[in-house]
Amino acid sequence: MAITTYLAASTRALAEEMERDPAVWALGEDLGRGGVFGQYKGLQQRFGAARIADTPISEACIMGAAVGAALAGTRPVVEMRFSDFALCATDELINQAAKARFMFGGQAKVPLVARQPVGMWRSSAAQHSQSLEAWYAHVPGLVVVAPGTPADNLGLLKSAIRADDPVVYLEHKDLWAAEGEVPDAEHLVPIGVADTAREGRDLTIVTWSGMRRRCLEAAGTLAAEGIEAEVIDLRTLWPWDRDRVLASVERTRRLLVVHEAVTVAGFGAEIAAFVAEHLHARLAAPVRRLGAPRIPVAYAPPLEDMARVSPEAIVAAARATTAPAAAIAS
């Protein structure tokens, strides 16, 4: 075990997989200089410019070329820089990558990883701050992964690269510098398995990505008040770990889903709806969601903060869910 950043973990993951499998390569803008956040630093020197390819500013072609390169037998790792720019390649990801295997009757698979750093960082405004994981979870053919710790960014990126499916891989921009323990030995995290970041008996908080930290912080505060929150970091949004969530809510009888994305039609709706469908009679309080208001992310800090889910808001939502008044008259 060593302490490593979320960023360095991703660099290591890609390097290990490129070492292991010559079919793996990466393509995107400015990768030769380390990528926009430094997550590719040193890789071009190590693996050459053919396998760490600097591309033109051509998001549609980056994604489309990755589809072709995957169909033709390689395993491309696509860098989209900001998930917002992946919107310049939506046809290529949704109509081509996600559907090719199916449309062609299984003649080929599309093993590509589409890395799309998401979320709010600081004063990045409306075109550099979005979290659209709900979109990708809605699209048949796609796997959706959103690591929240350095160890998970190592282990999940490696698994994503080994997957034969197109994987939308959402790293959080505010986590690049986050530190955590990371195994020295090869570390693979299975896709589709949640991580129970904290155990608790009073309510289940389901979250992912940048909100993992905030939820754990909130859980600390809640514990001081005697409320023991179980915090489940989904890590994978499709397929999400329903068994883990259902088992937890079965026990705690209360669900709070927390995410950074806009609440309306966010992926929290799926989880809340699913739990309400399956555990209605067991719930001691209504399911509850906490996400951003339906506003674009602004630049000025006080306005930007209005779109942020804070630990205080999580604490408040958890308190409301566990308050006796929230219990269902039964």
Partner: protein, 337 residues
């Protein structure tokens, strides 16, 4: 190389080779006509975009490719697919949505693909095949392969962004791609010239440093030679090439489109330049038997009549197949809701 209209075929015309082209062109036309009958009979359920009149392009490009070479096609891709070597029977079954179709009935005409012959797919999105082709070529380069990629698209496709992004990419990475713009003058129901600034595909390619030429798409002899030369260059590692081929779509945009927006005289003029008849005439001038030329047609028609009947008799795919081939992780066969 000149066709007979320009004073007779060249003396060294390769009869066997060109008879193969003729046979292939007849097979394409007969396939399209069979598919139209299949549509009229209610067997073909989705839209089809016939390539009648454009057979020489498919033939000249695809017959000059090796089987291992890759091909990316469009919504108007039956001819390309057949010429690349796909099985007509499996193709017709695909159009019928039946078991044994190239894609098991999942794709239909607009997503027809046969990876076993290097045909990596038609596409329902105009221009989307260009970046895919470029990426396939990139993969070939990465693994040191010697195959090349051919990418066909229409004249309407050059006004979408992926055309620029893909050509730029192919050139800067010096990739083995042959781009072919099959310019039939129309983008669905609109005349492409009205929508297109400048001289079109060749001029745009040249502005990117990609050698390009403009060709008569109904002259199978000239096209064959140009395609072969371009493919040789691409295979020799000289980077991408573009052929801008002028031809015409004899039918409407889809089989359902009567194309009332076109001048009857324009259609007639192009019927007069039928690429199959021109090649047959050239072969006749070169001394090929009339019977052999007629046989090319009748054999193709008989084959496709069989194909049609056989497809109509094929079973439907099992409904559960709808849950297969989606994804491994998060497989809907395990969890679809």
């Amino acid at each position: 190389m000149n066709g007979p209209a320009d004073g007779g075929p060249p003396p060294n015309l390769d009869r066997e080779r060109l008879l193969h082209h003729l046979d292939t062109m007849w097979r394409i036309r007969a396939f399209e006509e069979a598919a139209l009958r299949g549509l009229a009979d209610g067997h073909v359920r989705g839209a089809i975009h016939p390539s009648i009149g454009q057979e020489a392009v498919a033939t000249a490009v695809c017959l000059n490719l090796a089987r291992a070479d890759l091909l990316l096609s469009t919504h108007r891709g039956h001819g390309h697919t057949l010429a690349k070597g796909a099985d007509a029977q499996a193709m017709m079954r695909e159009l019928f949505g039946r078991e044994g179709g190239t894609c098991g009935g999942k794709g239909g005409s607009m997503h027809i693909a046969d990876f076993s012959v290097g045909m990596l797919g038609a596409n329902g999105v105009v221009s989307a095949n260009i970046p895919i082709a470029v990426g396939a070529a990139h993969a070939i380069r990465l693994r040191g392969g010697t195959e090349i990629v051919a990418c066909l698209f229409g004249d309407g496709a050059i006004n979408r962004g992926p055309f620029l992004e893909g050509l730029n990419w192919a050139k800067i990475f010096h990739l083995p791609v042959l781009f072919v713009c099959e310019d039939n003058g129309w983008s669905a129901t609109t005349r492409t010239a009205d929508l297109t600034a400048g001289e079109g595909a060749a001029a745009r390619a040249q502005s990117l440093g990609i050698p390009a030429q403009i060709l008569d798409g109904n002259d199978a002899l000239a096209l064959d030679e140009a395609a072969r030369a371009a493919i040789d260059d691409v295979r020799a590692g000289e980077g991408p090439r573009l052929l801008h081929v002028r031809t015409y779509r004899i039918t409407g945009h889809t089989a359902a489109d009567a194309a009332p927006y076109r001048d009857a005289a324009e259609v007639e003029a192009w019927r007069g330049r039928d690429p199959i008849r021109r090649l047959a005439d050239a072969l006749a001038h070169a001394g090929v038997d009339a019977a052999r030329l007629e046989e090319a047609r009748t054999r193709a028609e008989a084959e496709m009549a069989d194909v049609l009947a056989n497809a109509a008799a094929a079973p439907w795919p099992a409904p559960e197949a709808a849950y297969a081939d989606v994804q491994d992780i998060g497989d809907p066969a395990v969890r679809a809701f």
